[in-house]
Subunit: 199 residues, 2 copies
DNA sequence: TGCGCCTTACATACCGGGTATATATACCGA
DNA sequence: TCGGTATATATACCCGGTATGTAAGGCGCA
């Protein structure tokens, strides 16, 4: 529901038409998470259907100006007042993938952790470089960037934690489910190979 | 695309029917992210449509057993070998919300940061409590839990960082965009009020 | 025996998010 | 004037997610 409320919030400051809303959103988040224009129009249509905005005809050009209604303001106030719950968040694909990898004895989980780590490390460096080039008056964009940096750092810490857990497990019960002979019916080799983590 | 690949991965170890797949998935992730049974069947239907699995008739009961095809194994190998990119991730609703809040002068961003912080703190404590009650042989579930803990910790650090940035900003350019007189055309008071953050 | 209830198992309707594409106008430079 | 780019709206389609429907089998109990 994040687009829905974002549009409401943007409309609270000032009425606007679809294209304008996308532009505002993108300057906010510096165009990470590019917002597809189609979503803006479909979401606006739903908001109008639900009575949260009204699309007042055209301005001097043929553009459709949307503005908040009373219920729209109520809905927005509710959003501002309630925290973003952890249950509201989408499934974490990486966590699931690693969970699957460490469970399946035919998968080389250590190699997967390595490739993931170096990839995350690389994007962490990209983000840090990006941060150095932001103007100090773009506060919102800067905070979004730093959010991604904090998340990437947490991810690296977690991956390291997974690796040491894996080693401890291998020590605790060595060669579980991994037959010594080359008699796998389904080889399923993990082709993942780390390019080497910087650190 | 995380369900799609999760089902492929689960089917790689052993052929199964839909209901069974959900059960396996839920023991993996300890039923955070509960997987709706409907999604399993629709996803299986799409996988069969795309030739990645085949639904071989019925077993001794009337159940439809799915198993991986060659292309299915290829697709799965590709998934294992490629890291989860940061661009593949969904929009972060919290980051967007805070970005919107700090940009809109009519919103009390500090209050929102406070409520969010105490909420996240609360779930962090819940997660830590949960972790204490996990058996040591449930490795996958434990790692998923710890992933959520690491993320919650990063979120708290980020929220604190936002708060200090906000204070610095307020000092750098005091009362920007906030007219001294009570002449707002649209009041839009943030009703958010912190319940008081621990620590 | 039969009624109700739970679990297992599959299926479908519906909504929102996300992407790609179609269409039209305006402007600008070669 | 032709083509490319920016502006602006709209629509088709897929996937993820939720709720609901349906049906068979097992279990308890009056």
């Amino acid at each position: 529901m994040s687009i829905r409320h974002s549009l409401l919030a943007l409309l609270a400051s000032d009425s606007a038409y679809g294209y304008q809303l996308r532009a505002r959103f993108e300057t906010l988040t510096g165009s990470v998470w590019p917002l597809n224009i189609g979503q803006v129009y479909t979401t606006l249509a739903r908001l109008e259907r639900d009575g949260l905005v009204v699309g007042a005809g055209s301005d001097d050009e043929g553009r459709i100006i949307y503005r908040l209604t009373g219920p729209g303001r109520d809905e927005l106030a509710l959003w501002w007042s309630s925290p973003v719950g952890r249950s509201a968040r989408p499934r974490d694909e990486l966590a699931i993938k690693i969970a699957l990898a460490v469970t399946d004895p035919t998968i080389d989980a250590a190699a997967i952790l390595q490739t993931q780590r170096s990839d995350t490390m690389r994007s962490l460096q990209d983000l840090t470089k990006l941060k150095r080039h932001t103007e100090q008056d773009e506060v919102a964009w800067r905070l979004v960037l730093e959010s991604m940096i904090f998340n990437a750092e947490a991810e690296i810490r977690w991956l390291d934690h997974c690796e040491s857990t894996l080693l401890r497990e291998a020590h605790r019960r060595p060669e579980v489910g991994r037959p010594p002979g080359p008699s796998e019916p389904t080889p399923q080799n993990a082709t993942a190979r780390g390019t080497g983590a910087p650190a």
